[in-house]
């Protein structure tokens, strides 16, 4: 019989927003992770020495994706709960599961949230920016937040529940979903969106012909330079320096 009910899991969900607090180079997210689960470890273990050992056991190196690491939080809580109830789980098992789950979860989270979902939302926001031009220009930023968090928050809560109720079986399920296939499709959609937005901003806005030519050439050259591994920071400065020099020498 699970000790933690839905209300407890909801509180854990809110506490999980502080996972990154105290991030340091020694133990990474250990402080935040301990903060999230400490009150519940004290509820599982009645003996103060066992409480102390449980908290210290979880104050070790941990680093994973902030959103998806809730699955590890749920799993660790479930295992500690079983261990406290005399379920015969060794303390090393808890640490091993935590460590082994962290890497794959981090990779999946980075690939989905940072490399796919956030850029797609930023591009969609750009489309809304043109739609709201002339009035309510604050709407795109709000849409950015709503769109991103409409996926982020439910996933964050869902993986916590699944981690707690299904433990490591949940990770097996995630592997079977073949998330990479969906990410590939989202990337293709993103490319189509970029081509559409670039075409719209250059050809359907009131630029002079010379400005349109400049923009097309600039986009193509930037893309090629980026493919040749020139960093975006260098290109950013290239534009600025070019602009300053051309202005100073009155070429433009």
């Amino acid at each position: 019989m699970a000790i933690l009910d839905r209300r407890d899991l909801l509180l854990i969900f809110f506490r999980s927003f502080l996972l990154q607090l105290g991030w340091n180079y020694d133990r990474k997210q250990a402080f935040g992770f301990t903060y999230i689960i400490a009150p519940y470890l004290r509820r599982f273990y009645k003996d103060p020495d066992e409480q102390k050992n449980a908290i210290l056991r979880n104050l070790t190196f941990f680093n994973s994706h902030p959103c998806l690491s809730n699955s590890i939080v749920g799993t660790v809580l479930a295992l500690e709960e079983k261990r406290a109830a005399g379920g015969g789980i060794d303390e090393n098992v808890v640490s091993t599961v935590k460590t082994q789950m962290a890497g794959p979860i981090a990779a999946l989270g980075d690939l989905f949230f940072w490399s796919t979902w956030r850029p797609l939302v930023a591009l969609s926001t750009m489309a809304f920016f043109f739609a709201f031009k002339g009035a309510h220009e604050w709407m795109p930023a709000l849409i950015f937040l709503l769109l991103y968090n409409s996926v982020h928050l439910p996933i964050r809560y869902y993986v916590l529940l699944r981690g707690y109720y299904e433990n490591v079986k949940f990770i097996q399920k995630v592997k079977e979903w073949n998330v990479q296939k969906y990410i590939d499709k989202m990337h293709i959609f993103g490319v189509v969106l970029i081509i559409g937005l670039t075409g719209y901003t250059i050809f359907f806005m009131p630029w002079q012909f010379s400005e349109k030519v400049l923009m097309v050439v600039f986009f193509v050259v930037s893309t090629i330079l980026l493919m040749l591994q020139v960093s975006s920071t260098k290109l950013f400065y290239l534009v600025i320096i070019l602009g300053v020099l051309l202005s100073y020498f009155k070429i433009i």
Binding site: Y25, F31, W114, W138, P140, D184
Partner: protein, 218 residues
């Protein structure tokens, strides 16, 4: 002027914490910070455009493992603040503000780097208190830590915006430029750069990308 700057900086410093320390709700992203600072300073369009451009240009900088990001919140905040507080909306002003925002963004990042090194002390203090059976100190230390993170960020941002304003005035006087190209065109170029970065990110490492696009499979 100082009170207005303090108020806007207080908000920007709070929003920065979302990216690195709590939440990850994306309220600290350039697109949001740029728009918000634009609203507070009276020109939403400039703030939103710059925020969008900075968001896309550094969209491929991802917090994987121990990699350290440039302070994109700071870059958006500094550039929009300097452009709109100057009172002179021209291309020269915009170019210089953007040029200065990046190195100060990197300086701000270094402050973050220093803070993260100090954070180990919090973990040691937690260990000490837990060993003594003082479990409630975990919550106390979290609150304490959050408060100091905010204060450090606020002081950093305040220092940078005033130092930057002074430097911009100096640069304008040493290297005055007038540009016939409208600042709208310049912003558009930055947005196009951001689109190129995002395009490259989506197709990077995809040897069979064209095949995938055309639905060809082996």
């Amino acid at each position: 002027m100082f009170v207005e700057a303090l108020g806007i900086t207080a908000i920007a410093a709070f929003l920065h914490l979302d990216g690195s320390y709590f939440g990850q709700l994306m309220i600290g992203r350039p697109i949001v910070v740029g728009t918000l600072v634009g609203i507070l300073m009276g020109d939403i369009v400039i703030g939103a455009k710059l925020g969008l451009a900075i968001e896309l240009i550094w969209i491929n900088v991802i917090p994987i493992g121990t990699t350290f990001l440039p302070d994109v919140t700071g870059i958006a905040f500094f550039s929009v603040f300097w452009i709109l507080s100057n009172g002179k909306l021209d291309t020269g002003n915009c170019l210089y503000a953007l040029a200065l925002a990046l190195p100060f963004g990197i300086l701000s990042q270094q402050i973050d780097y220093w803070v993260r090194k100090q954070n180990s002390r919090y973990v040691q203090r937690v260990e000490q208190h837990v060993n003594n059976g003082e479990f409630s100190y975990i919550g106390v230390l979290i609150t304490h830590h959050l408060f100091w993170l905010y204060i450090i960020r606020l002081i950093t941002y305040l220092g940078i915006i005033f130092a930057g304003k002074y430097l911009l005035t100096l640069i304008h006087s040493l290297l005055p430029i007038t540009c016939s190209v409208n600042y709208d065109t310049v912003f558009q170029l930055f947005i196009l750069l951001g689109l190129a970065v995002t395009f490259n990110m989506f197709i990077e490492g995809r040897a069979g990308f064209i095949d995938k696009l055309l639905g060809r499979t082996n």
